[in-house]
Subunit: 464 residues, 4 copies
């Protein structure tokens, strides 16, 4: 890494762990091509080396595009160490296990009457996924400690909070944070409310200022303003107006969300119940609430305006992306530069001192949420500036939602410990405590054991 | 109050607010008659003066019993001030409203599919009852501040936590605490477990040492020992053994509980889920859990081994007690001295320096439970000794049950504020947040409004 | 206040309380003239109406300067209310009492062997000054609550922490913060260290990123970086190099400091003792330390490279400024636009959404320093952005300096309470606890009484 | 260990580490001989095996005394493990190093103008002593973990707080606590005040109820009562009356204190300054305060009514005790049963369930003092009862003394870390931060190095 006249940085090295991934990787390539003040290399490491190789080819094609402001040397590596050595930034975007394991996560509980709309963050599925992921995160954290201890580490993998926690638990000196675009959508929704209720048009999402408190995918906005005007009353009117019909609104900027549409009725219902704005998509939110609120059955979910994303759908989407990737790599399909809507490159620029940025981020609680335990990975605003990532005080979780969020935060602590100790009984203590879980204890254990059995190829560490 | 040679106290004045009550009052009379080192007067104040007069007569009959070790002058007063002036102890045991209001508390929600087994502590009924009680507690606290600011104040009224909180919120210097016998039963249950599992007989409840954390009626025991031996594994075996059949055991010592039998299956289920012993009766415990765990329907409750106490049953019991009272007063029926199983008189003796006592008590949190908000009224062990009531460190609520308890603690804070401000909208915020509440918001509001309407005679303060 | 196309704000109203002041007022006038995206009016209120009138004339002269980018209408008001009504910003810069009272603050303790280098923040003099100021701040806060409750309030008056605390104690909803330029100088010193030790030239103070923890004038920097490089080792080398000779460095930008030169030997000594950088000038720092470290005598102070600022010197300076003011007003002397080095106008622009700013500020502790009591007014970094002032997590006071800072924070709480209750005995409890105080208790009381007597014209409220 | 009918315990094993010691060991022998409900064996381990052997002989002589109610088998062991194996209680009373090392602790600083009246707890001497002791405590804690993990461990060694901390840091599951008789004396003083000021005679120390907050030897009483009457005003009058002359009072019960007389003028002065009662002897208290308050010189100490205990005096006393020990062992001198005034045996009986006890004790802070860091070893009241040692809430350190105590608590944390890591530079950070330390940094380092050099035989671990 080399500064040129304080205004540009050259010879940057980015290590991409999970470098064969598609959505996130291609978005990053596009954003990097547009970042005129950065350049360097991107090392792509993936357990699927071929996938990384394909991305190497795709990435390097960006350099030839007419609109490319910044050239990057993409290359696949055969080892994690090779990718990490000397890295200035590490991006982590991995898949823990295959979609077959995810099918167990999501669909086995359905046999027991437990439905999940996503299944990658919380609920039975999220817990199982965490158990698979934690040992992998430990390997990555140890690699970082050894090869690039000062690197900034951006995680996109779910379950977000538990991934970030595992990184810090393994290497406490790590400079890691987790990014998630769910909150951005809520800013857009405030802009929609301003337009719908007050007739004010043309507000950009970044003009809306919010305070963020919570844990990833169960993040809440308890203050929002625009030019100093309190937007909470506006939003309440908006929620009242659309609580029965839902609000479809304009398409989100982020293409990744388009398949996951919802009409915000869960979000509106939560607002009217508790007075704060739940900031993630409804499919995520429903999973954190007691089962019979929104997810008592598929029908109930549909009646609230959202569907259950099946793993078959995901498999199908991936097959299509594999084809698309091959075509991009071979030149049969175009690669194009367009903003991904993600903030990863902006965060890098801020951490390099090329701009300042206030945005929401997932890091361990050092007091920014005083009424959650220290060490819980929380999502709040933080300041990114030259060489520093500093959390802002978010203040306490509001009383009305405190117990809801705390239940999730406590589950996080229990699962983290279970993972660290490779202790399935401890994992079951979290499992039985999940808001979606209303089975009698013996039934719950049966489900748990069935899920462990179904994913045990990736749980070998727990049986040593 | 006058000390005689450090060993006995004479001329003590006890003010009994709700002095026309039956169960509690008669138990106290019996215990006072047996307390050889105390004597003095008991002023009985009640909004029902006749009831207090009846108790005056009954109380004074104890002095003539052969076994009476200690004579007390009982007299009814026409004003609260008269009763309080110069009191060394104040006992509060009142009924907020009549059983007609309680019928609204308990049975109106049933029309909406919400069942309550008690309805006086939490749930829709407990919240309504609190709204009626808080203004009354404020009057009593102001009276104490004026007439006997140094008196020790023992509250028996439910909802316990909110009553004690209202006393402290009104007069922060008050020396009040709330007593509840529910935890004693759990000590007996540990003794039963020792006998059943380990064959050890003859253990008295006071030989079992426990740590108590929680809020009244949702109190938990996370440590228990006997002669230094950890009893938690014994209890777990006991719970496994009886989790399906329940455990009837010997009759409790406390006669007041006899009508409220349960077979501890809820308590055992909670242990197996969460690892701590819930210390109240199952009828209370079920009300603090998400609705569909134990109270989804009357049938579900019954299947867990407990019934829903109806207000008709209470009315009937009271009618019988009225007759019994008349007979006791007229001499047609005997009054007898037998230990009530309550600790009120023991606590008085300890506070006067005649003994030392460690027992569970309800007082504001000053840190004895570090992970509940300061000022929440919590139930933990405390030391009673000469002139001092000092909470012991209970430690944090265990992670597994933390969110369950916190939800109740937060509701307490919300209802306390609603009551203090006479603000029904704030009360609704707690109402919608209750674990038993699974109605859609508009339905919930309809129920709330109906309950307010049905009890509005005692909610006048909220409509000024 | 009116936004024009999001980029400029017109019709802004600034109320200046203490609007007859000189240094601060003239600096603000110059900065406002340069702020091209703001315009409006400045209402000047002062108990010395004539002084405000003079500033009215001076202020309006700026509009005629060739370099003036922004025109402002200055006018004196006869009442506080008139100035405050409708204000968007309130600036508070008052003198509590006259220099005669300050002479008592600073010089009476010298008769008892207690020396103060400033005497306006801590020590016997700071405490007395606070007692005079608190009632005045209460008047101002009540005025703001009544006339402009949403206004942003910038305080420059000392004692800073106690002034800000009095504002919040009186009107908890106030949007006030205190600004102080002392920390800026320390950023410059880091730049000097980079140049001196590492040979890197041309670093601007804003390129240095720091973490700030403490209370005003006893603020500490425990992290500093430049482009991600840790500057603490560099600074330590710098301190070792100059610990005996001191470091004079280039003149500060801020003209107001020029009379108060020091050679940083106290700052270097504190670093070598405790490992953190004390961020204020040495004259301030010495007053917070145990008496015999730096202020055992005037000679000891001088041996550490700083002098005791006498009140005669201040009187003399004021006389000169009065003359300068008259000349400016009459046109005999020029008014000129040059940056004051203060951040007031920048903060206003950020709060209006015209830029974002991270800087140090004095506000009540809501957890940004977790090991100081909540409600203490602390100095830490905060984010200023559109309609929001949000503290950043500063983290705990480092162990080595924790007790030193806490002593000051506790004194703040004691003096605040004494002031609020107009209770001189409580003030004495803080007085006897001051680090500079080593008198026997009766002697200390004699000094205290003498100081009260000498300033009692401004302590009338305490004798009612 | 074997219970006989719940009322007596036989076959108890007590391990005495430092079993060749004199004062403490002989007191324990006498108290055990009087404890009718306990019997068993006492294993004496000492690095000086001969001394343990002598005590074996002395101990066994007690069994033959006419007043002996309880027989104990005393025997010296050659290894620590042998003593610890199977122990129910462990008593630790060791001397870290010899009196030659203590001479360095106490007298080397005098060459630099720093005087210490005791030198075993705080100040330069206390820090050095801690550095020697911590590695020894680690060895003992590991032995306990291995040989008797459930044993109750009573520590009498100084520096108390750091010894207890080292035990817990090494073996977190240890059931250790530290006992100190200093607070008892303060209870006697309250009784004296009641007599002197109010004319009430015959009050026993145990009738006085107090609240205790602080760290060992710098413990404070902020509440005291007798039969519910607040004794603080009485004590204040008492302090005013004797602040200049001092109060000699009757001889303490505890014979061990008799050589260390003081007239409480420091204690009275601290009360008048800060409003709380410092509970240790003046010689200890003075060492925790800024140097020039009481210990600026030997003369100043004397003027406050206390002397500096020299190590020559200690050597002389030990020589006499050695002779006395030989005579006791040989039968030339008598052994006699008289209460030691210590509470060790009473605590054992309470922990065995034979009584209940509330007394002050040194254990890690789990929240009993909410405004000191968790993990600091603090001194507060606790309940000793059957198999449990439970701290009572002591509440926050009062604001007036908060910073004084915190400075000591922070030093404890720093020295503990330095000891654990065998890091002399970290120890110096505590050294320079000590209240008695007013040397310039280079001078302080010179003193530190000289003290390390002088005691290095016992600091070998720090040079590996």
């Amino acid at each position: 890494m080399k500064y040129t006249d304080h205004k540009t940085v050259e010879e940057l090295k980015i290590a991409y762990v999970g470098g064969g991934s598609q959505g996130w990787a291609w978005g990053l390539m596009s954003d990097l091509a547009e970042s005129g003040d950065l350049s360097g290399e991107v090392a792509l490491y993936d357990i699927n080396y071929e996938a990384a190789k394909t991305n190497e080819t795709i990435g390097n094609r960006y350099n030839e595009l007419p609109g490319c402001k910044s050239k990057w040397n993409y290359y696949a590596t055969k080892t994690l160490e090779e990718a990490l050595t000397g890295a200035d930034f590490v991006v982590i975007s991995i898949q823990p296990g295959t979609f077959d394991e995810m099918a167990v996560d999501v669909h086995t509980p359905e046999k027991y009457g437990i439905y999940q709309s996503v299944g990658d963050t919380t609920g039975p599925g999220g817990i199982m996924r965490a158990l698979r992921t934690i040992p992998q995160m430990e390997v990555i954290a140890k690699g970082i400690e050894k090869c690039c201890p000062k690197a900034w580490v951006i995680n996109y993998t779910n379950p977000m909070a538990l991934c970030v926690k595992a990184l810090y638990d393994t290497f406490p000196g790590i400079r890691a944070f987790g990014c998630c675009h769910e909150v951005f959508g809520s800013k857009n929704l405030f802009a929609s409310a301003l337009k719908d209720i007050r007739g004010i048009e043309g507000i950009e999402r970044d003009e809306i200022k919010i305070n963020v408190v919570g844990v990833n995918h169960f993040t809440w906005i308890n203050e929002a303003s625009w030019h100093g005007e309190d937007l909470m009353p506006v939003y309440r009117q908006f929620a009242e107006k659309y609580k029965d019909t839902g609000f479809e609104g304009v398409e989100e900027v982020n293409w990744m969300n388009s398949a996951f549409a919802n009409n915000r009725r869960v979000k509106f219902d939560l607002l009217l119940r508790f007075g704060s704005v739940a900031a993630a998509g409804d499919r995520h939110l429903a999973e954190f609430c007691p089962k019979n609120w929104y997810l008592g059955s598929e029908k109930q979910a549909n009646s609230w305006g959202f569907g259950l994303t099946t793993v078959d759908w995901r498999k199908d989407r991936q097959a299509k992306r594999n084809v698309a990737g091959q075509k991009k790599a071979s030149g049969e399909a175009e690669v194009t530069i367009k903003p991904s809507g993600e903030e990863g490159v902006l965060q890098m620029r801020a951490l390099l001192g090329l701009c300042e940025l206030v945005t929401n981020v997932n890091i361990p609680n050092v007091g920014q949420i005083p009424n959650l335990p220290l060490g819980t990975v929380v999502e709040t605003n933080a300041v990114f500036r030259d060489g520093r990532l500093e959390p802002m005080m978010a203040g306490p979780i509001p009383t009305e939602i405190d117990a809801l969020v705390r239940r999730i935060a406590n589950a996080q602590l229990m699962v983290a410990e279970a993972g660290k100790e490779r202790n399935l009984d401890k994992a079951f203590a979290a499992f039985i405590n999940d808001p979606l879980m209303d089975l009698p204890v013996p039934e719950a254990r049966k489900l748990f054991d069935e899920m462990v059995e179904g994913t045990k190829e990736y749980l070998q560490e727990y049986f040593k």
